[in-house]
Structure formats: C-alpha cells, structure tokens
Symmetry: C2
Subunit: 477 residues, 2 copies
C-alpha cells in the first residue's frame, strides 16, 4: 500500500519537490539559502513550534526577544566564540550611504548579545536561575550546498534557550531538563532520534561539552536536529556574569544553552512521508480531516449539506477540519490533499447520506473505514490517535533498521557503506582513538551515546584498552 | 485618586522609566535604537499581537514568512520605492571575510521581496485575491532620536499584510476591510485614534494614496500607529504581476498593503497609564488578577491555603491569575504589581478567610471591593469588563479633549501651541493650500479626515474657495 521508493532512493529530490508541491515553501527566492514559507507550511511550522514553546513555558522558561544586530566589539569579546562563527557571519557595514563606525553582525546565535545583558540582570543569588528562550531568525554565511529547512543562510525559526545558574550541579540538571524537553518534543512529532555527547573536536565553541540529537534521513544519513551545551563558566568569565551568594561573596554563574531550528519541521516531514507526498502527524497537521463531497448530479444538495454539517460538527469538537467544495473532480482533490499529508480524508456520497455514515480513508495506510454519523466524533478522535501511534511506530522501526552495532572497524566501515545509518562501536573515549575510528571507517563520529554502555569485555578497536563508551558513527547529511 | 501629572507633563521620561521599571523592555542594549523585550513585556507584546493575528486570520489573511535579506538588484527595481527608503536601509556587504557580489538590504518592509514571488504565484484570476501577512523584524537606519517601541532601528514586531486583486474595486474594498480590522484592533485595546488620508507629499512611495491611524500621546502629540496603502498597479507594473482574466487576456493586478508595528504596544501603554505605572486593559494584561496573601503570624496557613485555592479557581475559569507568595511585605507587592499595570489585585487576610470573602482593588480607580467567595468568578469577570470599559472611556475622553476644530489659521496655530493635540480645519484639498496651512499654523498636516466633512459654507483658509475636506493638523511625536 505504502510506496516509499523515491522517498528512500532519491530523498533529496523527494524533499525539495514535496516542499514545493505541498505548498510548504517556495524555493525560488532569488538568493542562495533563502526560502519563503507559504501559508500551508507556515501553519505546519507554527503548530510544530507551539509544542516546543509549550514545553519551554511549562518548565519555567520565559520568552524574551533580543536584537538581531550585534556590534563587532561585543562579538569579538568572546574570542573562542568568534573562532566558532567568525568565518560564517554576515556583516552590516552601511546604514543608507553612510559607513557605520562599528560593524554589526547578524546574530548566528545570541550568546554575545544576551550575556552582556544577563550581567546587568544578575545581582544576587535571588536573581538566579535565569531561564529564557526566544524564537528568532539567525544567519550563517553557508558556503556549502544549501537546502530548504536544513542548511540555510537565514534560519528563519531558531528556538534558542539560555540559562544561568548559581552552581555547577544546577547547570548539570538543566542539561538533563533540556534533554527531557527535546525528547518529549520529538516523541510528540513521532520523530526518532539518538542522543550523543559530541566528541571534543566537535563541541560548540565556548562549551564544556555538547549534547546532540540526531535523526536519520530516509536515505540513511544522520541529521542533527537539536543541540544542548553546558557552557560551564566560560562565557560568564568573558562577560562578567557574577552573583552575590548567601556567603556575601561574588561568584561566576554556570550557564547552558540549547537550540532547535526549523530542521524539526524537516524531520517531521521526512520521518513520515512516502512517494505520494507528506503524511503529517495529526497533532501538527494544519488540516487533520479533509471532507470531500462526492456528488451525483441529481442529488447534489443533500451531499453538500451533510458535508457542511460534518465540517461544523468536527470543528466544534476541536478537530481541524476542512471542507473542500471546490469545483474539481474528487480524484483531483484526493491527490491534492494526499500531497499535503492530511491524516484523514472523509468522503461523503449519496449512499453515505442515505445510510447516515461517512467513508474515511487513512493517509498513512490507505485503509478505508465506514463510520456511523452518530459516533463520528468519538471514532475520529480514536482513528487520529491510531494514526499518531502508527506513524510513530513505523518511523521508529525504520530508524531502528538503520542503527547497527558492531565491535570491529571493518564491519563498521562496511555497514556504513552498504546500509548507511548509524553504527555503534565500543570506544575507550580517547580523542586520538576516536579520530582514528572515524578515519578508518570513513564515517563521522557523532559522539558517545547517552544512555548506553559497552559490555564489560568490549575493547576499543584502536588501542584495545577497555571500552568505556559506545561511539556512534555515521555519514552525515 | 488617579494621578497623571508626570504622565502628562514628562511623558517621554515616564514612558522610558516605566518600560524599564515594569520589566517591559531593557533599554540598555549597547546599540542605538535597539532594545530587549523582557519576559513580562514579551507576554504583553504576544497578547497584543494575538488580537491582530486573529483579526487577520478570521478575515481570510494567511500567514507567510519571507526572507529578511533582499538583494540590491531586486530592491533597486522599484526606483520609486528605493527613493522612499534608500537613505535608511542597512546593507550587508560581507559574509565572513568575503565581500558579497551583490549587497543585501535588511528589509525596511517587504514589497520588494514579496512581489517578485507573487509574480510566480499568480497565473489566472483563480489565484486571486492573495491576502497574506507576516509578523517580522524590519530595519531602518534611523538618524533621528530613537525611542523604545516608537522610533527604532530594529522594529522587532512588524505585522505587514499584502494583497493582490483582479480589479480596482476589490483593492478599494480591501482598503476598507483593512481600516475595519485596525479599528477593531485599537477598539479592543481601548486606544483612541483618528483616521486620515495622508496628503500627497506624505504618501508611501509607490502608493496611490495612504491612510493612517494616529493616536495622541499624553503630552499632546500625534503618533502614527498604523498605515494602509492602496498601491494601485504601481508595483504590479514593476514586478510584472499579471493574471489571465476570464476574457483570456492578461491584466495587471491591483494591490494594497498595510502595517502595524510594536507602536501598538506603546499606544496601549500610554493610553491607560498613570503616575504609578502601567494600567493594562484586561484583554492584554499578562496577569489579569494578582493574589496577595496578607498573613498574620499565628494564622498564616489558612490565608496561604485559601489564596492558593482562589488562584486555582480563577485559573480554571480562564483568568490569568498569579499568586504572589514571595517573602516580601504586602506593601512592596502592591507597588510592584501597580507598576506592572495588573488590572485587579486581590487581598486575602485572616478576616477575609473567616468571612468567606476576598478584597479586590481596581488598578484603574483604586476602588476597593468586597466580594463573596461563592460568587467570586462571576463577579471578577464583571469587574474586569468594567475595567475594560472604563479604560476605554477614560482614554477616549482624554483623546477628545485633544481634538479641536476651528476655521481660521490664527486660532489653529494657537490651539496647537497652547493645547497641542489635533486641530481640525476646513481645506479645499489643493496641495499648495495644504502646505500653506501647515506652514502658517506651524503644525504638520496629518491629512484629510476620513468620515468627516466640512459644513457646506466652510471655506479654505488660504484660497477662500469652498472647503471639500477637513484637514487635520498636529505636532507629531
């Protein structure tokens, strides 16, 4: 029933086409790496990010909004940081015809604009913790091949959270809370992920360590979909973030930051799609149920009327229902809404009206259901839940098929080459061994897996010492 | 009861101080014209703009999101337009260390990025109308004195709507719809306004005509809080926006655009405040009711417990209630929440607990009310509505006191000088007369008032011909 050949074998082509055909984005904006969110895509984006906002609000994060423009003086202060972004920053140099005295960076992320302000906000321990977030546009002068939603010059939708704490332990707990938030978020979207601690050579500039969420594309490549950084006191030192403790002395704060971009939307699209188009999880589908009247000339009116009633009934029940009464053939409408990934289609023909029923067709399985009008609402709620669960399980299964374990380098290399995905291999944790593992398997080291440990007898495939962690290898998108 | 001396006599100082003291914005960001939205201010901003979004959605506008960066080539295409913004545009010239081939403008508004895409979206009459909006940051290299929320280099929150239509009449109707939307929006906020058609010399570059909403600051100056432009076919010609009509021929579309910025938030703050701080309309108040326990040592527990119950009860009823159980004196808490403009304060002391009542204090009037616990919810809803109405009426009255009519130039000049506000004076509608009226009264011509007409015998004070419109004059903020 479900065809996933192109989705798997030509994922890049599938993804670009679907964004355009399902009215998610217009990829024809005449600047490399910049794209336009179209109305249907924008609704999807807003629904996805409303889950993320909600998770932040309910865990005590407060929304703020900082300027886009960061003066070079402030930006340069974090020399570590500029090393991380310097080559990729867009610079504003002129206002009108005037050259600016100080160049302004378009934020690539907001540490350097936020933390000097935090320094003004923090006086005593009573001002801590600070837990804020913003959803903003950020910029990178990306020289690699750009890709809508995935590799952008303007990331239009970056949720970045920033926190400050009195103690190291609290910062550590905050990292754990952030991991939980991201887990819940991606669980809600039915997007599978694996969590790892990035290796030292791939840690965020200025961070003590970085945690990352990766998913796997349909063609077997790892895609980073969220990062969490424990910043320790590195930024606090640079920007003078000190608080007066109960001991009357001044201490540097500990900080964390964590971000998710519109890649989350890309992840939801890729996890569940098929050759016919998108297949959206009900929770974020802009249209959850589309109602298509199947009229016959002599009986048009009752069909239209009942379709209208059904739409009202579902809307009143809090279901995002849409009645498609355009002057098109039903088949065209089916195609149209399939592309757009609407989870459930309701068809109402003269027979359905007579029998006081509707016909429902699931987007995920193609299954046809006949549902009595009188139990419509409760049954639809159930079916939507079944779709949610089915999508989640299906994506998980596909993901698990891509995650393989091995203990030797040769098979790791072969697995990466033949099956792609992620390969788990024991590692002693030493940087030099880690780099050699990556090199010899021709993969990239995602990092050490969180929540997994090698067996007691497992050895590092380079130095043969006892393995302390599981390394994750992949080809990255 | 209500003191409004500083509010009126030192409005600029009052406004800046209140933004800082009520945790709306931090005005200490180290770049001129850029400010930071703090959590409480951000909540206010979101509530204000959610009304505006809702009004756009319910009238068939679809949200989109276009890139911030506009290539100079596209930007220059609208020569009229660049004349309007050229001197005030920020230019990105470098990516990393590389000089860009084509300079990129930070959008001052989005006609030049949107309309070339519209040209791709519009094929036939079936693609029309297009009605889209976005809420984005826009930039102006402002050389005048900047002011948080009011005169910015980064306008953080610009709702811009753009439409395209098959006929001139439809564009004309769209202007009327936009006026209605803005009226409803400001009515909801209780912000008084006057609507006028800007004079030809103050029309948006590229527009056939511009309509503007102005309010009046507490110190009597006109402040533009919304504009609506009928663009005719001017942009359509430049960007080739054509559709195939039912006649099989290709026609240029007609367009409109209209925008409201975070000045709307400023307008709501200034309209209702007083010397003690903000006084927010319940609909947009981040906290509608603050509950303050007034404990006595020996009876602390029941007070705290009841306060918690009241908070739960109100939250369940959909009221944004906050329980302030910080370890501070009640008087400090009163002051704190007064500054922040919370419409209603509930005090719960031992006596209140005994008598199964609460004491409520209105922020707008200072009035104290005793309300029985059992009718709390229904009574509070009523009181909040009374506050809404009272604020609206009070603001309207204050506004009306600032709008004066006269027929001669001398008294117009005097009125502007002595009482400020807006002066209405008959005008023949000729540009040369209009400019002279403005010059001789030392005011600025806002334009001709919509929905008002001079008496049949009224004469233009310059040429003495019959007046056809009422001109509005003011000192502007």
């Amino acid at each position: 029933m479900v065809k996933r050949e192109r989705w798997r074998q030509d994922f890049s082509g599938w993804f670009s086409d679907m964004l355009q055909e399902a009215d998610i984005m217009d990829t024809r904006y005449p600047v490399k790496g910049l794209y336009v969110w179209r109305p249907y895509g924008m609704k999807l984006r807003n629904l996805v990010f409303s889950i993320l906002r909600q998770l932040h609000e309910s865990s005590g994060h407060h929304e703020v909004l900082f300027p886009l423009l960061i003066p070079e003086t402030l930006f340069q202060k974090e020399a570590e940081h500029i090393r991380g972004f310097g080559g990729q920053v867009y610079w504003v140099t002129h206002g009108g015809n005037q050259k600016l005295n100080i160049r302004l960076a378009l934020r690539p992320t907001s540490e350097t604009s936020m933390y000097p302000m935090f320094a003004l906000w923090i006086r005593t321990h009573a001002d801590l913790p600070i837990k804020v977030y913003q959803v903003v546009n950020v910029f990178r002068y990306e020289t690699k091949m750009t890709k809508p939603m995935i590799r952008l010059r303007e990331v239009t939708t970056f949720k970045e959270a920033h926190t400050a704490h009195a103690t190291k332990d609290e910062a550590e707990s905050q990292v754990k809370e952030a991991i939980k938030i991201y887990q819940k978020f991606y669980d809600e979207l039915g997007v599978p992920y694996i969590v790892s601690k990035r290796p030292p050579w791939d840690t965020f500039a200025g961070a003590v360590y970085s945690i990352a969420f990766d998913t796997i594309t349909p063609d077997g490549k790892a895609l980073q979909i969220g990062t969490i950084h424990n910043l320790g006191q590195n930024f606090a030192k640079v920007y003078g973030l000190r608080y007066e403790g109960v001991d009357g002395k001044h201490h540097l704060v500990y900080q964390t930051c964590y971000g998710i971009s519109e890649r989350a939307v890309a992840a939801a699209i890729m996890a569940h799609g098929d050759d016919d188009g998108l297949c959206l999880p009900p929770q974020v589908a802009p249209v959850q149920v589309v109602i298509i009247p199947i009229p016959f000339k002599e009986r048009e009116t009752p069909v239209e009327k009942v379709a209208g009633e059904v739409k009202e009934e579902l809307t009143a029940a809090g279901i995002r229902a849409h009645l498609d009464n355009r002057d098109l053939r039903p088949g065209n409408k089916f195609y149209y809404w399939e592309r757009r990934g609407v989870p459930l289609r309701i068809e109402i023909g003269p027979k359905d009206v007579e029998r006081e029923q509707i016909t429902a067709v699931r987007r995920d399985t193609g299954e046809k259901l006949t549902i009595a009008r009188k139990s419509l609402k409760t049954q639809l709620v159930q079916v939507l839940e079944q779709i949610t669960n089915h999508l989640r399980e299906r994506a998980k299964k596909s993901f698990q098929g891509f995650v393989n374990s091995t203990t030797d380098l040769k098979s790791a290399k072969e697995l990466l080459k033949k099956r792609g995905g992620i390969v788990r291999i024991p590692w002693c944790g030493q940087e030099s061994c880690g780099k050699q593992i990556a090199e010899k398997t021709e993969g990239e080291m995602l990092g050490e897996e969180i929540d997994s440990a090698p067996t007691q007898t497992a050895k590092c495939p380079i130095c043969s010492r006892q393995a302390t962690v599981n390394a994750l290898l992949a080809k990255t998108y």
